[in-house]
Structure formats: structure tokens, C-alpha cells
């Protein structure tokens, strides 16, 4: 049986993987600010798509999933025009 990851601060998890996508099961959430506070890292990857599929598996459960990139910075040399 796989060992369940320990709960950690979301900021700490993101800092540990600044250039990867992280799939996190959130266990503490501040509803006053809509901010995830702590969670368990389920998986991390350079690719987003495989984690999208895993996040979708939480459908019809009470689990709160958060698929987030480790950094808010655009890749070097990129600018955004959304």
C-alpha cells in the first residue's frame, strides 16, 4: 500500500517544485479569501495533461483538488496577452 503523503503548506510545496505542475489534495482552505492553505502532494510532473486526467478522477467525491504550477512566473522570454 502506498504511504499517504503528509500535509504541508501549499506555498512550501510550490516552492519545492518551481518548474513543475503539482496535483494537491487540499485539506485546509480559507473560505474568507478562497486560499488553499495546506494539502497533500499526490503527484508532480513537468507535463500538465497527465495530472489533468488524475484530477478529474476526484469527480463525485468530497476531495478538493488543486492542480497548480509551482511558480506564477511566465517562462523566460515569454510575455502574456490574454
Amino acid at each position: 500500500m502506498m504511504k499517504r503523503a503528509k500535509s504541508q503548506r501549499i506555498q512550501q510545496l510550490r516552492r519545492a517544485f518551481p518548474d513543475e505542475w503539482l496535483l494537491i489534495e487540499v485539506d485546509r482552505f480559507d473560505a474568507r479569501t478562497t486560499t488553499p492553505l495546506t494539502g497533500r502532494l499526490l503527484e508532480h510532473s513537468k507535463l500538465r495533461d497527465p495530472l489533468e486526467h488524475k484530477a478529474a478522477k476526484a469527480k463525485n467525491t468530497k476531495r478538493l483538488m488543486y492542480l497548480v504550477f509551482g511558480s506564477d512566473a511566465l517562462p523566460q522570454g515569454y510575455a502574456a496577452a490574454f
Partner: protein
């Protein structure tokens, strides 16, 4: 904006980092199949909130079967995408029920998965105070 008692509504204050190339915001999307948190960019240039297909599938919607579609003008192209209404979206602690979202995946180079657009922001008072590095929100 005043409350029902005529008093100014309290503001929520968030840090604003002028050195960042986007303004990131966590958005909780709710649907019949659950909830999912999506990190988006605050975008006053987007008519609608843009949500990723995977997150919409995860909360119980299927964009492929959406009958409503919209042409939206993106930087450099016009995209024809499904539009559906989620049960609710919440950001900055403020929940908006029955919010229309356009289903679209941003390119993988984007550090955020969606855009929080005007159809959400119009429910709020938003003050971007870059010199003070503060984002002030009230409803």
C-alpha cells in the same frame, strides 16, 4: 458600495506584486460533480471567465456536449469555444452563483489554467493599488 445598513462594506486586502507579469488568483469552481480550485489570472480584458476543460469535467460538466458556443477574440485569433454555466465560482472570498464560463485550455507555457474575467469581476469593487502593492476587494 454601501451595505444594507448604509455602511461601507469591509474590504479584503491582498498582496499585489508589481514585479509579476500576471495577477494570479485562486478560484473555486463548483458544479454537480464537486469542486476544484483553479489558479487563474485576473483579466479585466476578458469578457468571460475562462476555465480549463479538465477542471470542468472534474466538477461534472462536459464541454463537448455544450450547445452554447461563443466566438471570442484572443490575441492573434478568433476562437469558437463552448460556454456553459457553472453552479458557482468563488474568488477573494466572494461567491458568484451561476457564472458563465468559456471552456478553453490555455497553452501549457502559461503558469495559470484560466482567466478571471469581467463577468465575475463586475460583481466586485476592485482596486489595484500598485504603488502600495495592494489589491483591495469589496462586494
Amino acid at each position: 458600495m454601501l451595505s444594507r445598513r448604509g455602511m461601507p462594506r469591509p474590504s479584503s486586502i491582498f498582496p499585489l506584486d508589481p514585479s509579476k507579469s500576471i495577477i494570479p488568483v485562486d478560484v473555486l469552481l463548483e458544479g454537480p460533480g464537486g469542486r476544484q480550485l483553479v489558479r487563474m489570472a485576473l483579466d479585466t480584458g476578458a469578457t468571460y471567465t475562462l476555465a480549463p476543460v479538465g477542471a470542468l469535467l472534474a466538477i461534472g460538466y462536459d464541454p463537448a456536449t455544450a450547445t452554447d458556443r461563443v466566438d471570442f477574440i484572443a490575441a492573434g485569433s478568433v476562437e469558437y469555444k463552448p460556454r456553459l454555466t457553472v453552479s458557482a465560482a468563488q474568488a477573494f472570498g466572494i461567491r458568484v452563483a451561476r457564472l458563465a464560463v468559456v471552456c478553453h485550455d490555455l497553452p501549457p507555457q502559461s503558469p495559470v489554467r484560466g482567466l478571471l474575467g469581467l463577468n465575475f469581476l463586475k460583481h466586485l469593487s476592485v482596486h489595484l493599488d500598485f504603488p502600495q502593492r495592494l489589491l483591495k476587494i469589496s462586494s
